[in-house]
Every structure is written in structure tokens, then in C-alpha cells.
């Protein structure tokens, strides 16, 4: 085969990956439109246009602007944060089973958030407010979730660094970290009063109903530099796929790249978890699906995981709002129900493709 033919084939593969990104953007736009229209009040396309023109009833305006739009934005951002963290953590640890959830980072963040609500007084609970977990200091909550998530990350990094632990050991460590922090949450529940207890239990379900313009803004402000950082380092992550020593020989500062990458991925996870609770499997399943479609190419994996994560969580949340309407399911329950069999399917179908040696 001459070089021209090879180059042409390479460009064809590249175009296919770009097409996938474009399709994801289009699907996201369509999904946003669907999510705006469906729900307890169906708002048709013409009414929606009226809302944006400003001539509509205050009630519908209220539903679109203050309920559905922040919820949609929250779902997209949380999905992006979790999937992107999952994709990057998998690349950094060269571990296909790694994700914020399976490594216990989500669990540690959840503990940190619960700790902030109960011990640091970041959340007050009013039984009559209609919102059991009323967060009055989102900053303390996020910082606490982030700091506790670092505890989980530190254990993982120490294990992989000093013990050279393989993928299975890391996942077992993740299970241990998850159960440890699960026990911590249980302990806090034991000492909490009735209202606090209800609020923690309610809070630990991942739920997009807590999305507000306030927390969406905070997530967006944190997530934007995180996305840029990960995208900037995509070639470093790609190089790590060929082993630490080879990466070092190309001038990649392996230790620094891995440490900062893990810390930043934890931050992204902690922000999503601290506002919306634990949303399982998104960070694990989404990067896997993307890898199966476009291969292990971090150049495209990182933007595609971000987009697909947003799309996946928005679609799941829209389903959660409508599947047994008027009851709105917490999204964490739905993603667990969807994610577990989907992951099992991926394991059985695509073992060789998605698994590292």
C-alpha cells in the first residue's frame, strides 16, 4: 500500500471520529429541546418559542426558566464532569474498570458533602420547606466534598505507585474506600436528628431536582478550566497508554501528570456529587461506549466523553422525569438500573476491545 493510500485511510478514520462529535452535538441540541418540552406540563414547540420571545404566561416562563433550564444545564454539566473524570482516570491509571464511582471517589465526595451538611452546618434542613436538603453554603459543601475525595484518591495513588497494584487491586481498594465512607455516612445518620436523617438519605440519591442557576453557575465555572486542562493534556494521556517508561522517554512528567490529573478529576467529581448526590456508572459506562465507537484515542475520547456524558445524563434525567410521571425518579436510581446491565453487556460483548492487556 503506498503512503497516499495510508494517509487517505487515516483521514477517513479521522473524519469518522469528527462526524461522531458532530452527531453528539446535534443529539445534545435535540435532547435539550425534548427536555424543555416534556414533563409534568407539556410545552409545545410554539409555546416554547413564545417563552423565548417573552410573550407567555408567567407560570410557563417560570417552569422553563427556573425549573427546566437549570435542571437541563445541571444534568449536562454533571454528566460531562463524571464522564470526563472517568475517561481521564481510566487513561491515567491504564485501568478500564476505573471511574469516580468504582474507585470510591464519588463515595468519598458524598461523605464530604454529608459531613459539611451535618458537622459544618453547610446545609439547614427545614421540614416545611419542601426541600429536605436545603444547602445554604454551597462553597463549604463543595470544598468539603473535594477534600474528602482527595482522601480516596490518595489511597488509590499510593497503592498504584508504591505497590504497583494491578487493575483488580485498585478496584478492590475502591470497594473498600466506598464501604468505609458508606459506613461514615451511616454513622452520621445514626447521630443525626430525624430531619437531618431524612435529608441525608434523600441527599445521597443522585437527583437533578436540586439544580438551580446558582449551583449550575458554580459547576460551569469550575468545569470549564477542568475541560480545557484535560484537553490540553490529551497527548500526555495518550502517551501514558504505552507505559510510564516510554512516556518518560518522550519527556512526559509522568508523576506530575498523573497526580494533577487525578486531583482535578476528583475536583470535577466532587463538584457534581456535592450538588446532585451520587450518580453511579455514568463515569464508567460512558467512556467505555465512546472507546468502543472511536477507539482509544484521547484526542477524540476526551471531547467525545464530555459530550456523550452530558447527553447521557440529560437523556436519563428526562426519562426519570417522564417514565412514571407525575412521579419524578431520582436520577441516581435510574442510572444504576441502566448502567449496571449496560456495563455487564459491554464486559461480555467487548472484552477484548475495551480491555487493556
Amino acid at each position: 500500500m503506498n503512503s497516499e493510500k495510508l494517509i487517505e485511510k487515516y483521514h477517513k478514520t479521522r473524519r469518522y471520529k469528527i462526524l461522531f462529535l458532530v452527531l453528539l452535538i446535534l443529539a445534545l441540541v435535540v435532547m435539550i429541546f425534548v427536555a424543555l418540552t416534556v414533563g409534568s406540563t407539556t410545552i409545545g414547540a410554539s409555546k416554547l418559542i413564545d417563552v423565548f420571545r417573552g410573550n407567555t404566561q408567567p407560570q410557563i416562563y417560570q417552569v422553563i426558566y427556573n425549573i427546566r433550564m437549570p435542571r437541563i444545564a445541571g444534568a449536562i454539566l454533571a454528566g460531562t464532569a463524571l464522564s470526563l473524570s472517568g475517561a481521564v482516570i481510566q487513561s491515567l491509571l491504564r485501568n478500564p474498570l476505573a471511574s469516580p464511582y468504582t474507585l470510591g471517589i464519588s463515595g468519598a465526595s458524598a461523605f464530604g458533602a454529608a459531613f459539611a451538611i451535618i458537622v459544618l452546618g453547610a446545609g439547614s434542613s427545614y421540614a416545611d420547606s419542601g426541600d429536605l436538603a436545603n444547602i445554604n453554603n454551597p462553597y463549604i459543601l463543595t470544598i468539603s466534598a473535594f477534600l474528602w475525595s482527595l482522601v480516596g484518591v490518595t489511597v488509590i495513588l499510593l497503592l498504584s505507585h508504591f505497590k504497583g497494584a494491578g487493575p483488580e487491586i485498585i478496584i478492590l481498594a475502591g470497594i473498600i474506600i466506598s464501604s468505609l465512607f458508606g459506613a461514615g455516612i451511616s454513622a452520621m445518620q445514626y447521630f443525626a436528628d430525624n430531619v437531618q436523617l431524612a435529608s441525608i438519605v434523600f441527599w445521597t440519591f443522585g437527583d437533578m431536582g436540586r439544580a438551580s442557576w446558582n449551583n449550575v453557575t458554580i459547576i460551569a465555572l469550575i468545569l470549564t478550566p477542568v475541560i480545557l486542562y484535560f484537553f490540553y493534556h490529551r497527548w500526555n494521556y495518550k502517551t501514558l497508554q504505552s507505559g510510564d517508561e516510554y512516556a518518560k522517554s518522550l519527556g512526559v512528567k509522568v508523576g506530575r501528570v498523573r497526580l494533577t490529573g487525578m486531583v482535578i478529576a476528583s475536583l470535577a467529581t466532587a463538584v457534581a456529587v456535592s450538588f446532585y448526590g451520587v450518580i453511579a456508572f455514568v463515569g464508567l459506562v460512558v467512556p467505555h461506549i465512546v472507546r468502543r465507537i472511536i477507539g482509544n484515542d484521547e484526542q477524540f475520547l476526551i471531547p467525545a466523553s464530555a459530550l456523550f456524558g452530558g447527553l447521557f445524563l440529560l437523556a436519563s434525567d428526562t426519562l426519570a422525569r417522564t417514565i412514571i410521571a407525575p412521579v419524578v425518579l431520582p436520577i441516581g436510581i435510574l442510572t444504576s438500573f441502566l448502567g449496571a446491565p449496560l456495563f455487564l453487556f459491554l464486559l461480555i460483548k467487548g472484552m477484548s476491545r475495551t480491555y487493556w492487556k
Binding site: 491504564r94 504505552s242 522517554s249 518522550l250 487493556w356 492487556k357
Partner: protein
């Protein structure tokens, strides 16, 4: 490109792995580093390309101290093929070879990067498998891909850590012939090897390492029965026929001071 290894010492966790290593490697040399397991072959290779930093001494590449050079820039001169590829993610052959262009890529691969990658793939006859997952290739094909990846760096020096381990005879010869051809084109090749006969057949110069020190350095004539017996603690026979040298391991060496056996040497063969 000249390599000057100047009195380097490397310790790991308090154990001295390399000590008093001094040697000069000239442009176009094919150097084989041989020695028993744990003698420091891999460590020496990693010190030359800067992955490991010797506590004492330094390595000069074309008279430049590598401690003063950024590894990214150094990787445009030296390419490294690691010993094993365990933990290699499932990536296509093309993407693996393209990775060798990383020192030159800033935002995305340029048309020059793509051209060089495809030319090397063609040159090493990997074109039929260029979209295949590297983990699904045979050991010989994988090793060829890693050499291709190293060549994509457009280096002048190639460092290889036991590239023929786990390969069958055909692939060993193919890989070694490829390296010899590169050497003839002006590349400097430094290769850690276990097989003395391969070293004898291909290398222009041999470095024998023992317990982290250079035991002998020179041409084929340093491969003597006496040297090999001291190095490996086994009995060997070296057959010399004009330019052809061949080493046959005969068996375990029983020294008088090690055993109380009256016989000086006991061999299983011959």
C-alpha cells in the same frame, strides 16, 4: 551521534546498580550491552536516555550534558524501545507509531507528522496491519511496531532494551537485521541483549557488565571463554572460525573454592 558516558553511578533504594561507568560510543556504532540478570543493562540504557538520573557523573550526547537538556528535546535525538509492553492499551498500529511524533506535535499532528508515520509504516511493511489493535499482533510484529514508533521520533540514536526477548528465531533475525540496516544508514544503536551469539553476529562493539561495572568493552575478541566464565559463572566453549565466533554454553561451573569436590570442573556436556 557520539555518546560519552562519563563516570556514572546510579543507586536505587541504597543499592548501587551502576558504578564507575565510563565509555564512548561513536556515530554509527552497534553496541550490545551483555551481562547476567541484574548486572545493570536496563539501568545503563535508561541512564543514557535520561529516564533515570545518575547520582554521580553524567552522559553527554554530542558533547551536550543531558542533565541540561529537556527530555522532550532529547527524544528528538534518542529513541527508546522499552523492554516489555505490559500495560499497553489497545491502540491501533498507526496511532502507536504516530505517538513517536509527540515531541514534534503541539496542537494536532501536521501533514508532515502523518507523512513520516505512513512512510515508516510502509518501510517496515506494517501497512497491512496498520489499523489493527497492537495487542492483537504477534510478538515479532509488536516489536517491529515499537521500532517503527522509535523511528518516527527521527532519532539518531536508538536504545533498545532486550527487543528479542520472547521472539521466535525468524523474528529475532528480522528485528536484528532491521537494526543492522539502520546502523548502516548512520543510526547509532545501543541494545541490551541476553544472547551473546546475537551480540557477536551483529554488534560492532560489546559492553560486558558485571555487578554494575564494566567488566570488558571492545570488539568480538573480548568474548573469550575466560571472560564468559567469570561473567556468567558457567563453562562455555567459544568456537572461532575466521570472522565467525560462536559461544556454546556447556554447563555449570564448579570451582574448587566453591565445592569441596576434587574435580576442578564438572560439565554436563562435553
Amino acid at each position: 551521534m557520539k555518546i560519552n558516558i562519563n563516570n556514572i553511578q546510579f543507586s536505587y533504594n541504597g543499592t548501587t546498580v551502576l558504578k564507575d561507568i565510563n565509555c564512548k560510543i561513536n556515530n554509527g556504532d552497534f553496541i550490545a550491552v551483555v551481562g547476567p540478570n541484574g548486572s545493570g543493562k536496563s539501568t545503563l540504557i535508561k541512564c543514557i536516555n535520561g529516564i533515570l538520573k545518575p547520582q554521580i557523573g553524567t552522559v553527554y550526547i554530542a558533547d551536550k550534558d543531558i542533565k541540561q537538556t529537556h527530555l522532550r528535546d532529547l527524544s528528538k535525538t534518542i529513541a527508546y524501545v522499552p523492554q516489555n509492553s505490559n500495560g499497553q492499551a489497545p491502540v491501533s498500529v498507526f496511532d502507536t507509531v504516530l505517538l513517536g511524533r509527540k515531541p514534534y506535535i503541539n496542537w494536532k499532528p501536521s501533514s508532515v507528522d502523518i507523512k513520516i508515520t505512513t512512510d515508516i509504516i510502509n518501510h517496515l511493511q506494517l501497512d497491512d496491519i496498520f489499523m489493527k489493535d497492537i495487542n492483537k499482533l504477534s510478538g515479532g510484529q509488536q516489536q517491529t511496531v515499537y521500532i517503527a514508533r522509535a523511528l518516527a521520533q527521527q532519532p539518531e540514536i536508538l536504545l533498545l532494551d532486550e527487543p528479542t526477548a520472547n521472539l521466535d528465531l525468524k523474528h529475532i533475525i528480522e528485528i536484528m537485521d532491521t537494526l543492522k540496516n539502520l546502523c548502516n544508514k548512520g543510526f547509532t544503536v545501543v541494545i541490551a541483549l541476553h544472547d551473546i551469539n546475537l551480540a557477536l553476529r551483529y554488534a560492532s562493539s560489546i559492553i560486558m557488565l558485571k555487578e554494575g561495572k564494566i567488566f570488558a568493552h571492545g570488539g568480538k575478541d573480548i568474548i573469550t571463554e575466560e571472560n564468559l566464565e567469570k561473567l556468567y559463572d558457567i563453562k562455555v566453549k567459544v568456537i572461532r572460525n575466521n570472522d565467525f565466533h560462536h559461544v556454546i554454553p556447556l554447563g555449570k561451573l564448579y570451582r574448587e573454592d566453591k565445592t569441596k569436590n576434587n574435580e576442578l570442573y564438572k560439565t554436563t556436556i562435553g
